[in-house]
């Protein structure tokens, strides 16, 4: 089976105080469909930068990424955006819900961007799945952190992504809520056969994934 995600000699370097600063150095790995991969590392190890590059949110200094067989840095920014919209879902530490839209509208958003006809029905079902059937018309600021992350999860899964990128999804939550969120994410991941790329610094959480990738100073370490 063809791999869903492949990083090839991925490097990122920025200018800092007139000096080049290497954030990622020749990172290469492959992820198969349905796998779950935890990217671990201390603060500043380059894990969020790696996630940004894998999802095509940022552009590397060297190397490339193949997402579902497409070299995402050989296409332009808009084409990458469309590819993300069709293949990927995202869950972030800071939830990133649009404050002006209610829970249902936030979940409908990715569907509406692509003109899906049944966005409302699908979003309602997705919110029911994450246990928020009674919170459809609530604005994000009226939801708890856990509830906001559930909405974000429904938004990520509603487009039936082939791959889910999660950046410290429990970072803003207490331990009990965080654990519930992870269970839910893994359950959805398993149920839909979605590939999961999870960035975390939590070893226990990482252990729930099929594979772990340790980063230190921008390099993969054993």
């Amino acid at each position: 089976m063809a791999s869903i995600l492949q990083a090839k000699d991925l490097g990122k370097q920025v200018e800092s105080g007139g000096q080049p600063l290497v954030i990622l150095h020749e990172v290469s790995f492959t992820v198969e469909p349905g796998d779950s991969l935890a990217i671990l590392g201390a603060s500043g190890s380059g894990k969020s930068t790696l996630l940004g590059l894998l999802a095509g949110l940022d552009v590397p200094s060297s190397g490339t990424v193949y997402l579902n067989g497409v070299d995402i840095f050989s296409i332009d920014e808009d084409a990458r955006a469309r590819l993300r919209g069709r293949l990927a879902g995202f869950v972030f530490q800071s939830f990133q819900l649009l404050p002006a839209l209610n829970a249902l509208e936030n979940v409908m958003l990715p569907l509406e961007l692509f003109g899906a006809a049944d966005a409302r029905e699908r979003a309602t079902i997705a919110l029911q799945r994450v246990g928020l059937a009674a919170r459809l018309s609530h604005l994000p600021k009226h939801l708890s952190g856990g509830e906001q992350q559930r909405v974000a999860m429904a938004r990520a899964f509603v487009v039936q992504p082939k791959i889910l990128f999660a950046d410290e999804p429990t970072g803003n939550l207490d331990a009990a809520t965080g654990s519930q969120i992870i269970d839910l994410m893994l359950e959805l991941n398993g149920a839909q056969g979605t590939t999961l790329i999870l960035v975390t610094h939590d070893e226990v959480l990482a252990q729930q994934c099929g594979r772990q990738l340790h980063l230190a100073a921008g390099k993969i370490v054993p």
Partner: protein, 834 residues
Amino acid sequence: MWSAVAFGSREDCAVNTLRLSWLMLRRDWRTGEWRVLLIALVLAVGSISTVGLFANRVGLALQQQATSFLGADLRLVATHPFPPAYRAAALQRGLRVVENATFPSMVVYGQQNVLAKIHAVEEGYPLRGKIHIYDGTDHVAQGIPAPGTLWADKRLLQRMGLQLGNEVVIGELRLRVAARVVRDVDQSIGFASFAPSVLINAADVPASGLIQPGSRISYKILFAGDSAQLDDMRVWLKGQLAVGEKLEDVRDARPEIRTALERAEHFLGLAALTAVVLAGVAMALAASHFIIRHLDTCAMMRCLGATQSQVLRIFMYQFLLLGVLAVLLGGLLGYAAQSVLVQSIESMREAALPPPDWLPLWQAAASGMALLLGFAFLPLWQLKGVSPLRVIRRELGLPPARTSLLYASGAIVLSALFLWQAGSLKLGLTVLAGLVAGLLLFGLLAWLAVHALAWLPLRGSHAFANLARHGRTNALQIVALSLGGMALLLLTFVRADLLESWRGRLPPDAPNHFIVNIQPDQLASIKKFFIQQQLPTPQLFPMVRGRLIAVNDQAISGNDYPETRASRLVEREFNLSWSDHLPTDNTLAQGVWWERGTSSVLSVEEGIAETLGINIGDILTYDVAGSPFSAKVVNLRKVQWDSMQVNFYVITSPDLMKDYSASYLTSFYLPADKAHASDALIKDFPNLLIIDTEAVIEQVRKIMDQIAQTMSAVFLFTLLSGLAVLYAALLATQDERIHQAAILRTLGADSRYLRRLHLTEFAVLGALSGLFAAAGGTLLGWVLAIKVLEIPYHSSALIWLVGVGGGMVTVTLAGWLATRRVARMSPLQVLQSV
């Protein structure tokens, strides 16, 4: 399991983008994000449309009035009868037509003969305006004199001692005097008929035997209808005009009122733009605040797969929807404001002004959309470049903007609006350049002031340091607030003084009568007459009529001047006067007045000099009754044509005129209780033409009153826009203040400390804004007085006190209202609310 998602077509996406825009607009509206932008735009459109609609209605009323002075919309004058094709062509176009003939004839009553001007009119005359007659009662005439009767003016009746009912002879006709004409349609100033006039029915003319070959008859054909029919007729007529036929329309009538109105329109238009500039500032602040608040939204949408253009379209549609809404509301507001204005001005309510055209509303709408484009669309463009990476790296903000481009877009829109409203490139550019220079200067001074305060060892130094840290933002806020304050101070202090001085230009005893055709041998007896009547002795001005035939020895004719006005001026005779002194109400614009005894020099009015391209040093040659003279232009004069005083385009040194026979003219104020004096004057000096200008003066005075009241309404818009700037400025910095407060609270600052910090900052901002507002108000007042209204200006010390004090109190109060909850909230609550 969830089923697979069926993604829609391109069209579905477009529909969804629009739906999403509408949804987000609605949601953002609830959170108040759009409020400032909408309010600012509504005020701008409201302000422009109020002035536009108001000026349009007054202009239309004036046009109607002007048509009544012609008795028609369009008039063709000739020295021969018109071919029947003219009447047929007009009727075919749906126009109303009448033909008149005017000729001089002796009116005989008993032993007396008086030369009169006979107007033979057809049924239907006048097509525009009304004739007021007295036939026992004073009323508007229905129709024209019946065959066998005539209507005569007061001059004829007084000269011949005629009573209503008497019979007079004109040619072979015997006609009964059926009425006295109180006011005819074409008694505009400049109508210099020296003979009394008589109105008869055209049906009587053939029997009079007066129309013979060689008779001096002026034929007139009058047309009235709608503007499309008239335009069509005008074009057709221009192709048909024979020698001796001249087309006249309303543009030729009432120049003095038209001048007053045009000046007022430009002035009001520019005043309206102060509201527009403020609205622009508020919109720019609100738009940049909006954009900063939507960075996350943009990044998230990009992350979810939205393309750059899709993101841009989502926000663009929101701005467009908002623009359309604002234009509609602004238009309604403008319409309502001008209606209230017209209703509140007594003279206008009575005048029953015609309803306005749609044009000013379209112009206001276009201006509103242009403002939105200039101040909001380009900042919006930046959102397109927001990186999706911001979802994980929040420190990523907007891509570096081309600030020069952003400023340039606003400046271009404002420049275009200023040039349009000013009506002249020079005035528009002067006002705009002054405004921009003032803003930059105030901005720099504000920046220096907030930095200087931070260096002073004062209590509350944390607040001063805080102000200095955001020097640029605060300088911008100070400039914006001082613009609002300036409008307020102008409204309260400067406006009343200016208006009083301006109205003072036309004092209650402004001359209301002109006497023309005074002969040199009558000068002494005229002066004596005034003394006898206990009226101030008027200044008598000599006058000869001459035609300009050469400039610098180059012969000229009307064809040398492409501009119609210049061409007409060259073709007609000028009234020339002479004097050793500069007339009291004239001022020198260029050059110096001549010493007594200087010979062969001229003084020219600067307006006509500009029209004809005459400069100091040019040699002008005039032909007076076939005898030419040449003289050098040594100065240009500024003349207040609306002062109702006798004024001349050209004044010569006395030596040039001594050999020509002159007549004299004067103007004087005749109080209502001495109206009989004018009758006595006509009786004693039958050759004089006395022109009553009371109606014209009344009209100019009314226009001034109307403008004064309109100006109040316009400045109200400016004031409201100033408040919008205050609101936008507070909103733009609110998030940062809240964030800072939360950190300070966490570090142990109590609510008293926070309150003092905020209030000190706001008080300083307010005081500096007030100071600049007072400076700006004084400066603008001076410019308006000296440059626009041409009146002296006296500054008031109170403006500084009220400016600084008022600014401090208002901004502190508004700031306190905006931030008072911050001091009471817990740090976590505060941070979560940002």
